[in-house]
Symmetry: C2
DNA sequence: TTGAAAGCGATACCAA
DNA sequence: TTGGTATCGCTTTCAA
């Protein structure tokens, strides 16, 4: 069933059908209504390929993730999917994983699908190779990065001030009397690095430079975090507060404290990052830095939508994470 | 840059270019290599709309979810996305939410995008209206349902034997000496209903019919579960084991027990469902029923792939959940 | 208010 | 081993 079949049934030309489908003017109201009825009766919908080919717009956006196990990334993705669905766009969603070499591959796939715009979720897309690939495949199409930024004309990004946020948490802890802090970071991303810098800023500002050695880089798995935290606390029992770059790592920290017989928050304070459901599920609930997933998704949607409409958008939008005190800190 | 531009550059006809792009025979090896070089140099990729229009295959599948907050559903979705990406398919992923009336809408959207096949994730798609919509929009295209089934020729499904699984858990608990059981269920889906039936089967088989009253239907939110569990245990302190239809609800149960000063598992056993990360994060870790997300995803992928290749697939594939004993039960 | 015809960028058949 | 041409189902311009 194509537009010509419908035209034949309605006894008009396919041009008129096209006008009705796309709510364009120039059709007698009577004719329009008659055609609408037929369209409905035959459950007709236009072939999206033909439409895309003829109009050079297929109303599809691409959403690319690093790791689907990162729920605040998938949350952002689905927030964007939902808001674009309301605008009549479909979303091709894919995950390219931690292997950076796959980023080019997936960017290419997205381009080959003729998506009108692209959202990249995660600071890991902020690297030179990704920049090259974007230039190669998306030179003239809008790209938005959630928690990242690349200096290209068609790219804009949301940047979370994670460095500042962690630094402020250090201030907070020092204000509560903590002097021996540790920072446990997940795999190297720009974001992880920023958080670590924030920790360094904080201990420097507070003259706690010997804490510099209390930085661990580990895998983003809570059982790894548990093991590493145990090892750390056995070696340095003087530590009274640990900041983790992800809530899920802080969960591992909580487990480690249990197994060492430490009381939280009396003996030690545990701080997470993301304000994810993990921080609420945990017992005790975990004091955390809210990285504002929802606001990020909202801004990305708006920005991409604006760019698709040919509007200019500020290249970087800054968001300040907020500190949420729960049960795991004193 | 289209196929004609490339043809001009290469000094051959676009037909030859098409042959090279699609690795078809009938091109001199020398010519093929020369063209491949040009293709790469100009970073050319074919227009997917044109390709879809001409070949009537756009290499896109649709994946439809109910609730993106349900991580074992998103896990299944991304598992399928990943395996189809390897086959050169893109995935349009969307969430239609709990409002059943949106299912028709989204099924229509998927059809209008000319997806070659569709995966529906969640037992909530197992209803008459969805069946009608599938018949209307997907009469001749393969559809796979994860955890559901509809009696249509082009539809196949994976069915988890949840009823049996819950019934067996009741047996297990009774075997451990429990006599007063409760069952806390989430919102009405076919799946939730199956689990509840399993509970009823179990208490019937074990002559514990008075437990029938200990069934609660609540919202799938852990804090709701916490409140409801507290209320239940205050009213009926004789209960020694509670089965929840989702891990996240069991987490609420754990929290409730804490606040009532009950020891887990000494005073009460808590059982979840899904073997999700929540069950491991919780302290104590939660004994749970593994609904085999990974196997489900794997089967859905294989089944859809087979159907896309014109092969016939068994309409229903049964999977048995497995019981995983962790710390929260005795 | 309506319709005829060209064009979008591929595929595939048939002829050379 | 190659290329010409029709075709897929739509949008859009121009003429009626």
């Amino acid at each position: 069933m194509n537009i010509y079949d419908i035209a034949k049934i309605a006894g008009v030309s396919h041009t008129t059908i096209s006008r009705v489908i796309n709510s364009k003017p120039g059709v007698k109201e009577e004719t329009r209504e008659r055609i609408l009825k037929i369209l409905d009766e035959y459950a007709y919908f236009p072939n999206s390929c033909a439409k895309g080919l003829a109009s050079n717009k297929n109303k599809i956006i691409g959403i690319l993730l690093i790791d689907v196990r990162n729920s605040h990334h998938t949350d952002t993705a689905f927030y964007i999917e939902e808001s674009f669905a309301k605008l009549g766009y479909a979303s091709i969603i894919a995950a390219c994983g931690w292997d950076d070499s796959m980023q080019d591959e997936y960017l290419r796939v997205m381009a080959s699908r003729n998506v009108e715009g692209l959202v990249l979720i995660g600071s890991r897309f902020q690297n030179d190779n990704a920049q090259k690939s974007i230039k190669k495949y998306f030179n003239d199409k809008p790209v938005v990065i959630a928690n990242g930024y690349l200096p290209l004309d068609n790219v804009c990004g949301v940047l979370l001030e994670e460095r500042k946020a962690v630094s402020q948490v250090v201030d907070h802890l020092v204000g509560k009397g903590h002097r021996n802090l540790a920072f446990i970071n997940d795999n190297c991303t720009v974001s992880a690095n920023n958080k670590q810098q924030g920790f360094l800023d904080g201990i420097q500002k507070n003259d706690l430079l010997w804490n510099e050695k209390n930085i661990l880089d580990i895998h983003t798995r809570y059982y790894v975090s548990k093991e590493e935290t145990e090892k750390l606390l056995r070696e340095k029992p003087e530590i009274t507060a640990i900041i983790y770059s992800e809530d899920i790592l802080a969960v591992g920290g909580i487990k480690a404290c249990y197994s060492l017989g430490l009381k939280i928050p009396e003996d030690i304070s545990i701080i997470g990052f993301n304000d994810s459901i993990y921080s609420d599920i945990s017992t005790p609930t975990i004091t955390t830095i809210d990285n504002r997933t929802h606001d990020t998704g909202e801004y990305c949607s708006k920005a991409l939508h604006s760019m698709l409409n040919g509007e200019t958008v500020e290249p970087v939008y800054h968001l300040e994470p907020t500190f949420k005190i729960k049960e795991s800190s004193l």
